[in-house]
Symmetry: C2
Subunit: 249 residues, 2 copies
DNA sequence: ATTTTTCGTTGATCCAGGTCAATGTTCCAG
DNA sequence: CTGGAACATTGACCTGGATCAACGAAAAAT
């Protein structure tokens, strides 16, 4: 379970690993990422520590159990956080979108793998440098704390889903949450009922603690009952949101 | 799902609700709680905001969904964090021990209920006052961030257990984790193999996402196989730790 | 355009763990 | 010490979701 980190570390700046230099001022997630807590001077300082980097779909940025030398902000794309058992069983324990933060600041090995589900772009920091910078910038740390508290709330509600909900309830809950989070991504104001999932059936199963077959059957049944439409592999259109919420519980 | 908060709020200091005044300097968790980040002056200031309070086993300190007006440190006892479904199904999403932090700082309603599993003593703060104090004390906030990151790691590994492990693996993992956390409590240096759980079978089931019957059967079977002993209702003695770890995966 | 590969659906069957029910055990209260 | 309540164990049975297997459909490669 060991792998080379495929990114340029800031300390290796003499060599060009292909990581683009960061220009925070024009960053697409400038106002949504934790960096939003910084003023222009601080931002310039942080910018020197960060390197933009592209990750192809399916590639892994951090490996569970490895010493994690980097943290990052997501600029574009969707990545999954995965905890795996020795025999290959996988549980997706988090899904991160643009402006979300990746990695484990302040010591410790990475408690999970981070893998791109779509082609992605991330702004990477050497962990030690980031830790030092964060320690010196309480506002940044405050943002990070709020984010971590939110993530913890989300994780705990997902524990309820994993431990106590039926397959039907799991799928309904999942579709509603994805509908919300994905519409939060784009510019659309309200929650639209149609959306495109950034991943396939197996990954839905790994999020819900189900098999791919059960996941597929639940979706097919919901379509048969008129709750939703499946125009293509990854598109979902929820017809009866109220009914879906009733099922999700 | 609404209930009166049964504690004295600092702002009502004119009235005695029975909450004891806090003396941080002599606090039993002084060096382990987040307060350890503060110097004597800061501690005195925080002490004015806090009130010690006793909670009887089974009583609930915070209710899921209510506006949560307080946060707290645990001084003594064990409490559970619970997410419940409308039909009564419960999932325990966290267990807190002395020196652990309770509550949801920085806005929002409480995402779960907090209920004492044993008689407990907590040091309570008005949330707003605590938020302000924390915002003004980066070291405290740093401690809180580290704790929250640790909790998040723990929660995510618990998600793997809930979503992907068998009943046998769940019980084995649970016993090992409890063995560690409970020995961390006492003064014993190493991890002893015998310990007393602070809760009953139903609550183990609610932690593992199982029924009480399945939990009981797994324990009985493990005893029959010589893996452990069950000297009394709440006592566990692990005989073959290596085997237990192999099962936990 | 055709082959190959990957991904998704559907069916048949099985079994881990849930459900229902009875019994045993521990712990208080009186 | 006794009766009862709460908790735990055990048994019989059932079912939701896993597993095994085949097939279909879309995308990627040639």
């Amino acid at each position: 379970m060991t792998a080379a980190i495929i990114v340029a570390l800031p300390t290796d700046a003499a060599v060009d690993y292909g990581g683009g230099v960061t220009d925070c001022a024009s960053c697409v997630v400038r106002n949504r990422a934790i960096c939003a807590s910084l003023d222009a001077d601080e931002l310039a300082l942080l910018g020197k520590l960060g390197r933009n980097h592209r990750v192809k779909a399916g590639h892994t940025l951090l490996w569970e159990g490895d010493d994690a030398p980097v943290v990052a902000n997501v600029l574009e794309g969707v990545l999954k956080l995965v905890v795996a058992a020795a025999d290959g069983r996988e549980q997706i324990v988090g899904v991160v979108f643009p402006s979300d933060f990746i990695g484990r600041p302040f010591g410790k090995e990475s408690p999970y793998s981070v893998t791109a589900m779509t082609d992605a772009e991330v702004c990477i920091f050497n962990r030690k440098s980031f830790d030092d910078f964060a320690s010196a910038h309480p506002d940044l740390q405050h943002k990070l704390l709020r984010r971590t508290l939110d993530e913890l709330d989300r994780a705990r509600h997902w524990m309820m889903l994993l431990g106590r909900k039926s397959a039907e309830e799991k799928v309904a809950s999942f579709l509603l949450e994805m509908s919300e989070r994905l519409s939060g991504q784009g510019c659309g104001a309200g929650t639209q009922s149609g959306f495109e999932l950034p991943f396939g059936r197996q990954q839905i199963a790994d999020i819900l603690g189900l098999t791919i077959e059960t996941t597929s059957r639940q979706l097919t049944r919901m379509r048969a009952e008129g709750l939703l439409d499946l125009p293509s592999r990854r598109e979902i259109v929820i017809h009866d949101r109220a009914a879906m919420e009733a099922i999700a519980g």
